[in-house]
């Protein structure tokens, strides 16, 4: 019973971080119809910005917004300089469907290379604002700690903020209209190009938060070669696909499912199998429900 509770709490916390990553994948997908495999790389780079801020100001609450602004800036830059050129150069020909995928992979490699060149391959440490020592129930200690509670609260707050932004504001309406029908949006006076950049920036900021919390919740160390980063890289994509790629709610559900499954595999089956578990879940979901849990049918083969 105790172990079960522990497993669920860890799974939900990890899942919340994956959800944020999935949200950033979905935001980019909806604004430019590209799966950005470099998203985790961008999150990692923002986390390094956060680390630099931490070194200078020694406060997590300064480091977090610095990472978010940095992440948004990088994402906007990539969209403006790189994606626009990509769409212009390779939107026809046999490579049209493949080119964006390969290009974002190249971007991932480039970002990782740049990070390693600047900060070196060694682990860099980042400490959370509250302790990661678990709460106690009687004489037992939970793996769920004040830090994990904080993570959960921050992620939920961000999601609420994003939901309000999307559903209740004019910016949200522009973002949604541009995603569903760029042409009607433009005819209605929406500056779709600007909205695309905005969508990328939001994704960059969300990814930065995911990166920061993924790091402090892991063993506190991170590098392009760390397990924390590899998990971020695949989990965002897998959670987004489980949720059907189009919906933010789906991304959250996908992230939670993934977090719980990984947590259960780790706790009850085998600690060396947890990297293959996401792949297996993905395969099962794709076979049973190819449109994702909340996805619309037939969207997958477009």
């Amino acid at each position: 019973m105790f172990q079960l509770l522990n497993t669920i709490l860890i799974g939900i916390t990890a899942g919340a971080i994956y959800s944020l990553m999935a949200i950033s994948i979905v935001l980019v997908w909806r604004s430019t119809r590209v799966i950005n495999f470099a998203q985790a790389g961008m999150a990692l780079l923002s986390t390094y910005f956060g680390y630099e801020a931490m070194v200078h100001f020694n406060s997590f609450w300064i480091a977090l917004p610095v990472a978010m602004v940095g992440g948004a800036g990088i994402a906007a830059l990539i969209e403006l300089v790189f994606m626009r050129l990509l769409v212009k150069r390779s939107s026809t020909g046999p490579m049209a469907a493949v080119a964006p995928i390969i290009a974002t992979l190249g971007l991932l490699g480039l970002i990782k290379g740049i990070i390693s060149s600047i900060w070196g391959g060694a682990d860099v440490r980042l400490v959370g604002p509250v302790t990661n020592v678990g709460y106690s129930i009687g004489d037992k200690t939970l793996a769920f700690s004040p830090l994990k509670l904080l993570t959960l609260c921050t992620v939920v707050a961000l999601m609420l903020l994003l939901t309000v932004l999307f559903q209740k504001s004019n910016i949200g309406l522009s973002l949604r209209a541009s995603a569903y029908s760029p042409e009607i949006a433009r005819l209605s006076g929406v500056k779709v190009d600007f909205v695309r950049t905005l969508g990328w920036s939001l994704a960059g900021a969300a990814g930065a938060v995911a990166g920061m919390f993924q790091t402090v919740n892991g063993n506190g160390a991170f590098s392009p070669e760390s397990i924390e980063f590899a998990l971020l890289l695949i989990s965002g994509f897998i959670a987004a696909v489980i949720g059907g790629l189009e919906s933010l709610v789906g991304a959250v559900v996908g992230g939670l499912v993934l977090g719980l499954v990984i947590s259960f595999v780790l706790m009850y089956i085998s600690s060396s199998l947890f990297f293959i578990a996401p792949f297996v879940i993905l395969l099962i979901i794709l076979f049973v429900r190819p449109q994702g849990i909340l996805g619309v049918k037939a969207a997958r083969r477009a």
């Binding site: 495999f37 050129l85 080119a99 995928i101 290009a103 490699g109 792949f279 297996v280 076979f287 997958r300």
Partner: protein
């Protein structure tokens, strides 16, 4: 080139192979080893070209298929004492089986979904090696193809033996792939790639054709995996990192994904990049940190630049330019 019959191709390949083997006797050991690496990459890249360029499916997880080939070859050799030739056949068959399974999933997916699924596989599969003791965990297992036969003479080195095996395997697989691509199956793949609906209406079973492409591609990748571990001597999870899958993809893009004839460009570039990076770093004298990351940076930059400026590869680009020139002269 397309007018040649396959038998002419065979003759061409035999002559080409003969020249290669003669050069093998004239250069130093390092070059021979690099030659073997190039041959390995040729095999691996041609499997990606077949899959991505001709059948339009993206796999970011070919490293995983290479791993399947390598591990099964090693297990066959170590635990069942199979002869060398048979280990390579087993590598091909095992990887092809894995490819068929993956292909069955892949046929239901397109573009980004398939790319992500294979990516998850590439990250996840090597961890299986830790789960089963037969694969030797992080340290991995040995894969030893043995010394060159004494009949080849005293001066025949181990590296030259690797080069011979890899070179022969590369020639055979290129010849096979080239012929498959020009067969009915190759045409079906290209038809499915450019328009699935039209291909289906023309009576092509698109999903069967896709699964077949994945299976053959995986088989070739398995061979490449076995060859790769032959040149390293061991099989371990660290030999098949995500970076391997990415550099193979880069090699394929540099070669021009939609034409097999550029495959050497990609293979040679992949082998040459570390050396070029080293030379550049020494010349400009930058920090060690930057030097170790330079090859990775160069691969990524090349990948991005190629996708942006010659998305169909240099060979195809050249061909289009020639064709345009010819059309202009006609007018």
């Amino acid at each position: 080139m397309h007018k040649f019959k396959s038998s002419h191709h065979l003759g061409f390949f035999i002559i080409f192979g003969f020249i290669l083997f003669l050069t093998g006797n004239r250069v130093d050991e390092l070059r021979v080893y690099q030659g073997a690496s190039i041959a390995v990459y040729v095999v691996a890249i041609s499997s990606i070209i077949l899959l991505t360029g001709y059948s339009g499916q993206v796999s970011l997880g070919h490293g995983a298929l290479l791993a399947i080939g390598a591990y099964s070859a090693a297990v066959a050799r170590n635990n069942f004492h199979a002869p060398v030739v048979l280990t390579f056949v087993i590598a091909v068959l095992a990887a092809a089986l894995g490819g068929a399974l993956l292909g069955a999933a892949a046929a239901r997916l397109s573009g980004p979904y398939l790319a992500g699924t294979t990516l998850a596989l590439a990250i996840g599969l090597p961890s299986l090696a830790n789960q089963f003791p037969i694969f030797g965990g992080e340290q991995g297992v040995f894969f030893d193809v043995g010394f060159p036969p004494p009949s080849l003479g005293e001066g025949f080195t181990q590296y030259k033996w690797f080069f011979w095996i890899a070179g022969l395997a590369a020639l055979i697989s290129i010849w096979l792939v080239a012929n498959i691509l020009r067969s009915r199956y190759g045409r079906n793949w290209r038809a499915g790639r450019s328009n699935e609906t039209a291909a289906a209406l023309a009576g092509i079973s698109v999903s069967r054709s896709k699964i077949l492409a994945f299976t053959i591609s995986a088989g070739v990748a398995g061979l490449a995996g076995a060859l790769l571990s032959m040149t390293i001597g061991t099989v371990s999870p660290s030999a098949f990192p995500l970076a391997l899958s990415f550099s193979l993809l880069t090699g394929a893009v540099l070669s021009g994904v939609s034409t097999l004839s550029g495959v050497m460009i990609g293979a040679v570039t992949l082998v040459a990049i570390p050396e070029i990076a080293d030379a550049v770093a020494t010349r400009i004298g930058v920090s060690e940190r930057f030097t170790t990351n330079l090859p990775g940076l160069m691969v990524s930059t090349l990948l991005i630049l190629t996708v942006l400026f010659v998305p169909n590869g240099p060979v195809e680009q050249h061909r289009t330019r020639q064709a345009r020139k010819a059309a202009k002269e006609k007018n």
